[in-house]
C-alpha cells in the first residue's frame, strides 16, 4: 500500500477525532441541483378551464437540432396578467396531461347500457356523432312555440367548446350550432 507520511498523519488525525467525538461539523452541505437550470422555457396557455392561466413549459435541452424536447416541468407564468405565476392543482399537473401513460390518445365510446369504454377510430366516431346529431334534431326539433311564433330551435342538444379552441374554430362551431338550431351553447371563447 502506497501511503505517504502526510496522508497517514491526516487519516490518523481525522480517524482519531471521529473516534473521540471531536467532530467539527462541515461548513457546507450538498443539495439537489436546480432541475430547470438549462431547460427551454416555452409560454403556453393552460387547457383546463376558461380562466386560461399562462404556463411555462420546461422542456429538455436547448432546442438544438438533435434534441427531442419532452416536457419535464410546468410552472405558472409570472408575466401573465391572469394568474401572475400561480396555478391551481389541475394546472400544476399539466405535465401529466402531456406525458402520463394513462391519458387518452384515441376516441372512445360508451354505448347505451354498457359499463365500459371502447376505443373507436376517428372516422367511426365522427360518423356516429353525425348520426346522433341528425336523429336528435329530427326528434326534438321545435318549429313554433306555444304562441305560434316560428323559433326553429333544437332543445335536445347543447354545444360546449373548449377553452383552448381558437377564434376560427369557435366561429365555425357557432355557425354549425346555429344551423342545428342549438340554443344551449357556450364556446368558452375567453382566451
Amino acid at each position: 500500500m502506497d501511503l505517504s507520511r502526510r496522508a497517514f498523519l491526516k487519516a490518523g488525525t481525522v480517524g482519531g477525532s471521529i473516534a473521540l467525538g471531536l467532530d467539527v461539523s462541515e461548513a457546507r452541505a450538498e443539495m439537489r441541483d436546480l432541475k430547470i437550470a438549462r431547460t427551454t422555457e416555452t409560454r403556453s396557455t393552460c387547457p383546463y378551464c376558461a380562466v386560461s392561466c399562462g404556463v411555462i413549459l420546461h422542456t429538455l435541452g436547448d432546442r438544438a437540432k438533435n434534441v427531442t424536447g419532452s416536457v419535464v416541468h410546468v410552472e405558472g407564468d409570472p408575466d401573465h396578467p391572469i394568474n401572475r405565476g400561480t396555478l391551481c392543482p389541475k394546472g400544476m399537473a399539466i405535465k401529466e396531461d402531456i406525458s402520463h401513460p394513462g391519458r387518452l390518445t384515441a376516441p372512445r365510446v360508451r354505448k347505451p347500457g354498457s359499463d365500459t369504454w371502447e376505443e373507436i377510430s376517428w372516422d367511426d366516431a365522427i360518423a356516429r356523432i353525425a348520426r346522433h346529431v341528425k336523429d336528435t334534431r329530427d326528434r326534438c326539433f321545435v318549429e313554433k312555440n306555444a304562441k305560434g311564433q316560428v323559433v326553429n330551435r333544437n332543445p335536445g342538444m347543447g354545444m360546449i367548446g373548449g377553452c383552448t379552441d381558437t377564434n376560427e374554430f369557435n366561429f365555425l362551431q357557432w355557425k354549425a350550432s346555429v344551423a342545428f338550431g342549438v340554443t344551449y351553447r357556450d364556446t368558452q371563447a375567453r382566451v
Binding site: L20, G21, L22, D23, V24, S25, E26, A27, R28, A29, E30, M31, R32, D33, L34, K35, A37, H73, V74, E75, G76, N83, G85, T86, L87, C88, P89, G91, M92, A93, K95
Partner: protein, 296 residues
C-alpha cells in the same frame, strides 16, 4: 461534490463548533395565511411535481384531506379541521410541512454528524448521504414532520425548496398558491406582512387573531397567521412547542459529559504513565529447586 452546495449555519451531532458562519445570509421564510386558504391543494401538487415525488395512494378518512398525516413521499399536506366555535362551525385549513425552526429539535436529536443541517439562509435539510435512518429526528421534532422512507431507508421532509431558494427562486408551493395566502421573502418581511394581516383580521371581528412564530423553538421560518390565534391546537399546531427534554438532556448534558469522560480516560491513562512510568520488570527471585521437577 463542490458544485452545488450552500454554507451551513449548524449541523447535527457536532461537539466542537462548526466551520461555517463566514457569510451572513438573511433567513428565508414562508408566510401562510390560514384565513385565506381555500384548501385547493395546488401547493400539494406543486410540491410533488417539483420534487419529483412518486404518487402516494390517498386515504379517504371522511374529509377532504389527502392523507391522514405527512408521508415520506408527501411533504406538504393541507389539514382540514372542523371545530365548533360558539354556536357555529369553523372550517380551518392549514398547510402542514416542515416549519424550519430556528433551533431545530430534529437537528438536536440527530446522532449522525452532518445528516441534518441548517443552511446559512435558515433552511433545515436532511442530507441523505449522511442520514442513517434512525428516525431520532422524528422524536425530536415538536411538529411530527420528518418521515421514514421505506424505499431508501432515510428520513425525508420538506426542504423549503432549497434548490430553488439557493438560486433566488421562491418555493414551488408558494409560487402556485392562487389565493395568495402563501408568500415568500425574508423572515423580517414575512413577519411584518403577518402583523399587518393580523391587524386586518382583528378589525374585522377576529379578536384572537395572532401570528404563530413559537419562541420555544427559537421561532420558525414558516410564519403562520391564525384567525383563532388563541387555539393553535384547532389547526393541529402545538400551543408551545419545545425540543423534548430527553433530547436536550442527552445532547446538552450527557453527550458532552461522555465526551469529557472519554477524554478524561485518555488523559488519565497518559498521566498515569507519566507519573508511574513503565511497569518495571519484577525479579521473581531464585526458583525453589524442589519445584523444578529435576529432583527425582
Amino acid at each position: 461534490m463542490a458544485v452545488n452546495e450552500l454554507e451551513v449555519r449548524r449541523s447535527s451531532a457536532s461537539v466542537l463548533g462548526f466551520l461555517g458562519g463566514a457569510r451572513k445570509l438573511p433567513t428565508v421564510s414562508k408566510y401562510i395565511d390560514t384565513s385565506t386558504c381555500i384548501g385547493c391543494k395546488a401547493c400539494e401538487i406543486a410540491c410533488q411535481e417539483w420534487n419529483d415525488l412518486p404518487e402516494v395512494a390517498t386515504v379517504q378518512a371522511g374529509s377532504y384531506q389527502t392523507l391522514p398525516d405527512l408521508h415520506a413521499g408527501y411533504w406538504n399536506l393541507i389539514r382540514f379541521n372542523e371545530m365548533e366555535h360558539g354556536d357555529t362551525l369553523v372550517w380551518l385549513m392549514r398547510k402542514d410541512q416542515c416549519m424550519h425552526c430556528e433551533d431545530p429539535g430534529c437537528l438536536e436529536a440527530c446522532p449522525a454528524p452532518g445528516a441534518i443541517v441548517q443552511y446559512a439562509n435558515g433552511i433545515v435539510d436532511v442530507n441523505p448521504d449522511k442520514c442513517i435512518g434512525c428516525a431520532y429526528c422524528a422524536s425530536g421534532c415538536p411538529f411530527n414532520v420528518p418521515k421514514f422512507a421505506e424505499k431508501t431507508g432515510k428520513m425525508q421532509k420538506c426542504t423549503l425548496c432549497v434548490d430553488r431558494s439557493r438560486v433566488g427562486l421562491e418555493p414551488a408551493c408558494v409560487k402556485s398558491c392562487p389565493t395568495g395566502c402563501l408568500h415568500f421573502g425574508t423572515k423580517d418581511d414575512m413577519l411584518s406582512l403577518a402583523k399587518g394581516r393580523v391587524a386586518q383580521l382583528k378589525a374585522t371581528g377576529f379578536a384572537q387573531a395572532a401570528v404563530y412564530d413559537p419562541p420555544g423553538v427559537g421561532g420558525t421560518a414558516v410564519v403562520t397567521v391564525l384567525a383563532h390565534g388563541d387555539h393553535p391546537e384547532w389547526y393541529g399546531l402545538p400551543k408551545d412547542p419545545q425540543v423534548p427534554l430527553g433530547v436536550k438532556l442527552w445532547k446538552g448534558f450527557l453527550r458532552p459529559l461522555g465526551f469529557l469522560a472519554v477524554l478524561g480516560a485518555v488523559v488519565g491513562a497518559f498521566g498515569h504513565h507519566l507519573y508511574h512510568g513503565n511497569k518495571g520488570h519484577v525479579d521473581p527471585g531464585p526458583r525453589d529447586p524442589d519445584e523444578t521437577g529435576t529432583a527425582a
